[in-house]
Symmetry: C2
Subunit: 157 residues, 2 copies
Amino acid sequence: MSYDDPPSRTPAGDAFTALVVQVLRLNGHLTAAGDALARPAGQTSARWQVMGVVEHGPATVAQVARALGLARQSVQRIADLLEGDGLAEFIPNPADRRAALLQLTVAGRAALRTIQTAQRAWADALGAEIGEDALRQASEVLARVAEVVASRGYGER
Amino acid sequence: MSYDDPPSRTPAGDAFTALVVQVLRLNGHLTAAGDALARPAGQTSARWQVMGVVEHGPATVAQVARALGLARQSVQRIADLLEGDGLAEFIPNPADRRAALLQLTVAGRAALRTIQTAQRAWADALGAEIGEDALRQASEVLARVAEVVASRGYGER
DNA sequence: CCGCGAACGACAGTATCCTGTCGATCCGCA
DNA sequence: TGCGGATCGACAGGATACTGTCGTTCGCGG
Protein backbone atom coordinates (compact mmCIF):
# COMPACT_ATOMS: atom_id res chain seq x y z
CA MET A 1 0.00 0.00 0.00
CA SER A 2 1.43 3.27 -1.10
CA TYR A 3 2.15 5.88 1.48
CA ASP A 4 0.18 8.64 -0.09
CA ASP A 5 -2.87 7.12 -1.64
CA PRO A 6 -5.64 9.47 -0.59
CA PRO A 7 -8.71 8.24 1.23
CA SER A 8 -11.25 7.52 -1.48
CA ARG A 9 -14.61 9.27 -1.47
CA THR A 10 -17.94 8.17 -2.82
CA PRO A 11 -19.00 9.62 -6.19
CA ALA A 12 -21.37 11.97 -4.37
CA GLY A 13 -18.56 12.97 -2.04
CA ASP A 14 -16.36 13.69 -5.01
CA ALA A 15 -19.08 15.77 -6.62
CA PHE A 16 -19.56 17.69 -3.40
CA THR A 17 -15.85 18.34 -3.11
CA ALA A 18 -15.69 19.51 -6.71
CA LEU A 19 -18.49 21.96 -6.04
CA VAL A 20 -16.69 23.27 -2.98
CA VAL A 21 -13.58 23.91 -5.03
CA GLN A 22 -15.60 25.76 -7.63
CA VAL A 23 -17.25 27.95 -5.03
CA LEU A 24 -13.95 28.86 -3.41
CA ARG A 25 -12.38 29.77 -6.71
CA LEU A 26 -15.39 31.67 -7.97
CA ASN A 27 -15.50 33.68 -4.79
CA GLY A 28 -12.23 35.33 -5.65
CA HIS A 29 -13.34 36.23 -9.14
CA LEU A 30 -16.66 37.59 -7.97
CA THR A 31 -15.15 39.71 -5.26
CA ALA A 32 -12.73 41.17 -7.78
CA ALA A 33 -15.57 41.86 -10.19
CA GLY A 34 -17.62 43.44 -7.41
CA ASP A 35 -14.74 45.69 -6.48
CA ALA A 36 -14.42 46.74 -10.10
CA LEU A 37 -18.12 47.50 -10.23
CA ALA A 38 -17.98 49.57 -7.07
CA ARG A 39 -14.72 51.36 -7.84
CA PRO A 40 -16.19 54.09 -10.08
CA ALA A 41 -18.25 55.16 -7.08
CA GLY A 42 -15.18 55.06 -4.86
CA GLN A 43 -16.48 52.05 -3.00
CA THR A 44 -15.67 48.39 -2.52
CA SER A 45 -17.60 45.17 -2.72
CA ALA A 46 -18.06 44.96 1.03
CA ARG A 47 -19.35 48.52 1.39
CA TRP A 48 -21.72 48.09 -1.50
CA GLN A 49 -23.20 44.98 0.08
CA VAL A 50 -23.84 46.77 3.36
CA MET A 51 -25.38 49.74 1.57
CA GLY A 52 -27.61 47.39 -0.36
CA VAL A 53 -29.06 45.94 2.80
CA VAL A 54 -30.04 49.30 4.29
CA GLU A 55 -31.21 50.69 0.97
CA HIS A 56 -34.89 50.14 1.68
CA GLY A 57 -34.93 51.08 5.32
CA PRO A 58 -32.56 51.49 8.27
CA ALA A 59 -31.30 48.46 10.14
CA THR A 60 -28.96 47.73 13.01
CA VAL A 61 -25.46 46.45 12.41
CA ALA A 62 -26.44 43.08 13.81
CA GLN A 63 -29.39 42.82 11.43
CA VAL A 64 -27.21 43.66 8.44
CA ALA A 65 -24.67 41.06 9.53
CA ARG A 66 -27.34 38.38 9.70
CA ALA A 67 -28.67 39.39 6.30
CA LEU A 68 -25.21 39.04 4.76
CA GLY A 69 -24.14 35.99 6.70
CA LEU A 70 -21.18 37.82 8.22
CA ALA A 71 -19.91 38.43 11.72
CA ARG A 72 -21.26 41.49 13.47
CA GLN A 73 -17.83 42.99 13.79
CA SER A 74 -17.13 42.81 10.10
CA VAL A 75 -20.24 44.80 9.32
CA GLN A 76 -19.59 47.18 12.18
CA ARG A 77 -16.25 48.08 10.69
CA ILE A 78 -17.76 48.75 7.27
CA ALA A 79 -20.62 50.73 8.78
CA ASP A 80 -18.19 52.95 10.67
CA LEU A 81 -16.25 53.56 7.46
CA LEU A 82 -19.44 54.44 5.59
CA GLU A 83 -20.37 56.85 8.34
CA GLY A 84 -16.91 58.39 8.18
CA ASP A 85 -17.31 58.90 4.46
CA GLY A 86 -20.69 60.50 4.89
CA LEU A 87 -22.48 57.76 2.98
CA ALA A 88 -24.47 56.50 5.94
CA GLU A 89 -25.40 57.67 9.39
CA PHE A 90 -26.49 56.17 12.67
CA ILE A 91 -29.84 57.28 14.03
CA PRO A 92 -31.17 56.47 17.49
CA ASN A 93 -33.17 53.29 17.76
CA PRO A 94 -36.26 53.84 19.90
CA ALA A 95 -36.64 50.08 20.31
CA ASP A 96 -33.12 49.39 21.56
CA ARG A 97 -30.85 51.95 23.14
CA ARG A 98 -27.70 49.91 22.37
CA ALA A 99 -28.32 49.29 18.68
CA ALA A 100 -28.40 52.43 16.57
CA LEU A 101 -29.99 52.19 13.14
CA LEU A 102 -27.80 52.52 10.08
CA GLN A 103 -29.31 54.64 7.34
CA LEU A 104 -28.07 55.84 3.97
CA THR A 105 -27.46 59.54 3.46
CA VAL A 106 -28.27 61.31 0.21
CA ALA A 107 -24.66 60.84 -0.84
CA GLY A 108 -24.89 57.18 0.02
CA ARG A 109 -27.96 56.71 -2.13
CA ALA A 110 -26.25 58.42 -5.02
CA ALA A 111 -23.20 56.19 -4.73
CA LEU A 112 -25.35 53.10 -4.47
CA ARG A 113 -27.29 54.07 -7.57
CA THR A 114 -24.07 54.50 -9.52
CA ILE A 115 -22.96 51.02 -8.55
CA GLN A 116 -26.33 49.44 -9.20
CA THR A 117 -26.45 50.84 -12.70
CA ALA A 118 -23.12 49.28 -13.55
CA GLN A 119 -24.05 46.04 -11.83
CA ARG A 120 -27.25 45.79 -13.83
CA ALA A 121 -25.47 45.87 -17.16
CA TRP A 122 -22.90 43.39 -15.92
CA ALA A 123 -25.42 40.95 -14.47
CA ASP A 124 -27.72 41.16 -17.48
CA ALA A 125 -24.91 40.45 -19.92
CA LEU A 126 -23.40 37.54 -18.01
CA GLY A 127 -26.80 36.22 -17.00
CA ALA A 128 -27.87 36.05 -20.61
CA GLU A 129 -24.69 34.24 -21.51
CA ILE A 130 -25.17 31.49 -18.94
CA GLY A 131 -28.93 31.15 -19.12
CA GLU A 132 -31.57 31.88 -16.55
CA ASP A 133 -32.65 28.29 -15.96
CA ALA A 134 -29.18 26.99 -15.30
CA LEU A 135 -28.48 29.91 -12.96
CA ARG A 136 -31.64 29.37 -10.97
CA GLN A 137 -31.05 25.65 -10.64
CA ALA A 138 -27.45 26.14 -9.55
CA SER A 139 -28.55 28.82 -7.13
CA GLU A 140 -31.04 26.46 -5.59
CA VAL A 141 -28.43 23.77 -5.13
CA LEU A 142 -26.07 26.23 -3.48
CA ALA A 143 -28.81 27.32 -1.12
CA ARG A 144 -29.34 23.72 -0.09
CA VAL A 145 -25.62 23.20 0.35
CA ALA A 146 -25.37 26.32 2.49
CA GLU A 147 -28.23 25.11 4.61
CA VAL A 148 -26.77 21.66 5.09
CA VAL A 149 -23.27 22.94 5.77
CA ALA A 150 -24.55 25.50 8.24
CA SER A 151 -26.81 23.09 10.07
CA ARG A 152 -24.53 20.08 10.18
CA GLY A 153 -21.30 21.96 9.82
CA TYR A 154 -18.44 19.60 10.29
CA GLY A 155 -19.04 16.59 12.44
CA GLU A 156 -20.63 17.36 15.79
CA ARG A 157 -19.28 20.83 16.13
CA MET B 1 -40.05 58.64 -10.54
CA SER B 2 -39.01 57.75 -7.06
CA TYR B 3 -35.55 58.58 -5.91
CA ASP B 4 -34.53 55.13 -4.90
CA ASP B 5 -36.15 52.74 -7.31
CA PRO B 6 -33.32 50.42 -8.25
CA PRO B 7 -32.34 49.91 -11.86
CA SER B 8 -34.29 46.88 -12.97
CA ARG B 9 -32.46 43.83 -14.31
CA THR B 10 -33.59 41.22 -16.77
CA PRO B 11 -34.76 37.88 -15.33
CA ALA B 12 -31.45 36.34 -16.33
CA GLY B 13 -29.62 39.22 -14.69
CA ASP B 14 -31.61 38.66 -11.54
CA ALA B 15 -30.82 34.96 -11.61
CA PHE B 16 -27.15 35.72 -12.10
CA THR B 17 -27.15 38.15 -9.21
CA ALA B 18 -28.91 35.64 -7.00
CA LEU B 19 -26.25 33.07 -7.78
CA VAL B 20 -23.52 35.54 -6.97
CA VAL B 21 -25.08 36.20 -3.59
CA GLN B 22 -25.27 32.49 -2.91
CA VAL B 23 -21.64 31.96 -3.82
CA LEU B 24 -20.45 34.78 -1.58
CA ARG B 25 -22.46 33.53 1.36
CA LEU B 26 -21.52 29.91 0.85
CA ASN B 27 -17.86 30.83 0.69
CA GLY B 28 -17.94 31.91 4.30
CA HIS B 29 -19.58 28.70 5.44
CA LEU B 30 -17.22 26.53 3.46
CA THR B 31 -14.12 28.28 4.70
CA ALA B 32 -15.34 27.85 8.25
CA ALA B 33 -16.05 24.17 7.63
CA GLY B 34 -12.65 23.74 6.02
CA ASP B 35 -10.96 25.31 9.01
CA ALA B 36 -12.86 22.95 11.28
CA LEU B 37 -11.77 20.02 9.13
CA ALA B 38 -8.13 21.08 9.24
CA ARG B 39 -8.03 22.09 12.89
CA PRO B 40 -7.45 18.60 14.35
CA ALA B 41 -4.25 18.51 12.32
CA GLY B 42 -3.31 21.98 13.56
CA GLN B 43 -3.82 23.46 10.13
CA THR B 44 -6.13 25.86 8.35
CA SER B 45 -8.15 25.77 5.18
CA ALA B 46 -5.56 27.76 3.23
CA ARG B 47 -2.63 25.56 4.29
CA TRP B 48 -4.54 22.43 3.51
CA GLN B 49 -5.30 23.67 0.01
CA VAL B 50 -1.65 24.41 -0.67
CA MET B 51 -0.59 21.04 0.69
CA GLY B 52 -3.17 19.36 -1.50
CA VAL B 53 -1.67 20.85 -4.63
CA VAL B 54 1.85 19.62 -3.92
CA GLU B 55 0.66 16.27 -2.63
CA HIS B 56 1.44 14.40 -5.83
CA GLY B 57 4.67 16.12 -6.74
CA PRO B 58 6.62 19.28 -6.00
CA ALA B 59 5.65 22.56 -7.63
CA THR B 60 6.76 26.16 -7.53
CA VAL B 61 4.82 28.76 -5.58
CA ALA B 62 3.68 30.36 -8.82
CA GLN B 63 2.36 27.03 -10.10
CA VAL B 64 0.42 26.42 -6.90
CA ALA B 65 -1.04 29.91 -7.08
CA ARG B 66 -2.28 29.31 -10.59
CA ALA B 67 -3.76 25.97 -9.60
CA LEU B 68 -5.70 27.58 -6.76
CA GLY B 69 -6.62 30.77 -8.58
CA LEU B 70 -4.82 32.90 -6.00
CA ALA B 71 -2.16 35.57 -6.14
CA ARG B 72 1.41 34.37 -5.98
CA GLN B 73 2.07 36.28 -2.82
CA SER B 74 -0.82 34.68 -0.96
CA VAL B 75 0.57 31.24 -1.67
CA GLN B 76 4.10 32.35 -0.93
CA ARG B 77 3.08 33.38 2.54
CA ILE B 78 1.38 30.04 3.22
CA ALA B 79 4.32 28.11 1.78
CA ASP B 80 6.73 29.95 4.06
CA LEU B 81 4.54 29.13 7.05
CA LEU B 82 4.39 25.47 6.05
CA GLU B 83 8.15 25.41 5.75
CA GLY B 84 8.45 27.06 9.14
CA ASP B 85 6.26 24.36 10.65
CA GLY B 86 8.28 21.60 9.04
CA LEU B 87 5.36 20.42 6.91
CA ALA B 88 6.94 21.35 3.60
CA GLU B 89 10.35 22.23 2.27
CA PHE B 90 11.85 24.05 -0.67
CA ILE B 91 14.15 22.08 -2.90
CA PRO B 92 16.31 23.54 -5.66
CA ASN B 93 14.69 23.68 -9.05
CA PRO B 94 17.14 22.57 -11.73
CA ALA B 95 14.97 24.20 -14.38
CA ASP B 96 14.77 27.63 -12.76
CA ARG B 97 17.19 29.02 -10.23
CA ARG B 98 14.69 31.59 -8.93
CA ALA B 99 11.74 29.28 -8.37
CA ALA B 100 12.40 26.61 -5.73
CA LEU B 101 10.08 23.63 -5.67
CA LEU B 102 7.75 23.19 -2.73
CA GLN B 103 7.54 19.64 -1.46
CA LEU B 104 5.75 17.99 1.45
CA THR B 105 7.82 16.53 4.27
CA VAL B 106 6.90 13.32 6.01
CA ALA B 107 5.18 15.37 8.69
CA GLY B 108 3.32 17.27 6.03
CA ARG B 109 2.04 14.09 4.44
CA ALA B 110 0.87 12.83 7.81
CA ALA B 111 -1.01 16.06 8.52
CA LEU B 112 -2.56 16.05 5.09
CA ARG B 113 -3.73 12.47 5.52
CA THR B 114 -5.40 13.35 8.80
CA ILE B 115 -7.30 16.17 7.16
CA GLN B 116 -8.24 14.12 4.11
CA THR B 117 -9.72 11.39 6.24
CA ALA B 118 -11.98 13.84 8.00
CA GLN B 119 -12.83 15.57 4.76
CA ARG B 120 -13.85 12.32 3.16
CA ALA B 121 -16.47 11.54 5.79
CA TRP B 122 -17.77 15.09 5.63
CA ALA B 123 -17.95 15.26 1.85
CA ASP B 124 -19.52 11.81 1.56
CA ALA B 125 -22.23 12.63 4.08
CA LEU B 126 -23.15 16.02 2.67
CA GLY B 127 -22.74 14.84 -0.89
CA ALA B 128 -25.21 12.04 -0.31
CA GLU B 129 -27.65 14.49 1.21
CA ILE B 130 -27.63 16.83 -1.76
CA GLY B 131 -27.33 14.29 -4.53
CA GLU B 132 -24.56 13.67 -6.98
CA ASP B 133 -26.42 14.80 -10.09
CA ALA B 134 -27.47 18.14 -8.67
CA LEU B 135 -23.94 18.73 -7.39
CA ARG B 136 -22.35 17.98 -10.74
CA GLN B 137 -24.77 20.15 -12.63
CA ALA B 138 -24.29 23.07 -10.24
CA SER B 139 -20.56 22.58 -10.41
CA GLU B 140 -20.66 22.77 -14.17
CA VAL B 141 -22.64 26.00 -14.09
CA LEU B 142 -20.20 27.53 -11.63
CA ALA B 143 -17.30 26.57 -13.86
CA ARG B 144 -18.95 28.35 -16.76
CA VAL B 145 -19.65 31.40 -14.62
CA ALA B 146 -16.05 31.48 -13.47
CA GLU B 147 -14.89 31.28 -17.03
CA VAL B 148 -17.18 34.05 -18.22
CA VAL B 149 -16.42 36.30 -15.27
CA ALA B 150 -12.70 35.78 -15.65
CA SER B 151 -12.67 36.32 -19.38
CA ARG B 152 -15.05 39.26 -19.58
CA GLY B 153 -14.56 40.45 -16.06
CA TYR B 154 -16.40 43.68 -15.59
CA GLY B 155 -17.04 45.70 -18.70
CA GLU B 156 -13.97 46.32 -20.82
CA ARG B 157 -11.49 46.10 -18.06
C1' DC C 1 25.45 36.24 -28.62
C1' DC C 2 23.19 39.82 -26.60
C1' DG C 3 19.34 42.48 -24.99
C1' DC C 4 14.74 43.12 -23.49
C1' DG C 5 10.28 41.60 -22.04
C1' DA C 6 8.25 38.08 -19.05
C1' DA C 7 8.11 35.46 -14.95
C1' DC C 8 9.48 34.82 -10.16
C1' DG C 9 10.27 35.74 -5.24
C1' DA C 10 10.88 39.51 -1.59
C1' DC C 11 8.98 43.31 0.70
C1' DA C 12 5.65 46.77 2.10
C1' DG C 13 1.07 48.33 2.55
C1' DT C 14 -4.06 47.68 2.55
C1' DA C 15 -8.81 45.50 2.75
C1' DT C 16 -11.72 41.95 4.55
C1' DC C 17 -13.11 38.71 7.70
C1' DC C 18 -12.95 35.97 12.05
C1' DT C 19 -12.52 34.94 17.16
C1' DG C 20 -12.59 36.13 21.97
C1' DT C 21 -13.71 39.19 25.65
C1' DC C 22 -16.03 42.87 28.01
C1' DG C 23 -19.65 45.90 29.73
C1' DA C 24 -24.34 47.66 28.65
C1' DT C 25 -28.93 46.71 27.54
C1' DC C 26 -32.96 43.95 26.62
C1' DC C 27 -36.36 40.53 27.46
C1' DG C 28 -38.76 36.46 29.13
C1' DC C 29 -39.94 33.94 33.10
C1' DA C 30 -40.32 32.97 37.89
C1' DT D 1 -40.56 43.02 40.31
C1' DG D 2 -36.23 41.19 39.67
C1' DC D 3 -32.92 37.97 37.95
C1' DG D 4 -30.35 35.52 34.37
C1' DG D 5 -29.63 34.38 29.61
C1' DA D 6 -29.30 36.49 25.17
C1' DT D 7 -28.05 40.30 22.24
C1' DC D 8 -25.47 44.33 21.07
C1' DG D 9 -21.49 47.41 20.26
C1' DA D 10 -16.46 48.18 21.59
C1' DC D 11 -11.93 46.65 21.63
C1' DA D 12 -7.96 43.69 20.74
C1' DG D 13 -5.67 40.31 18.00
C1' DG D 14 -4.99 37.05 14.15
C1' DA D 15 -5.65 34.92 9.46
C1' DT D 16 -6.34 35.40 4.50
C1' DA D 17 -5.93 37.78 0.29
C1' DC D 18 -4.75 41.62 -3.09
C1' DT D 19 -1.91 45.42 -5.15
C1' DG D 20 2.33 47.66 -6.25
C1' DT D 21 7.26 47.80 -6.55
C1' DC D 22 11.87 46.03 -6.90
C1' DG D 23 15.81 43.13 -8.10
C1' DT D 24 16.90 38.59 -10.09
C1' DT D 25 16.57 35.15 -13.47
C1' DC D 26 14.82 33.15 -17.68
C1' DG D 27 14.14 32.69 -22.45
C1' DC D 28 13.11 34.25 -26.97
C1' DG D 29 14.13 36.94 -30.92
C1' DG D 30 17.10 39.89 -33.51
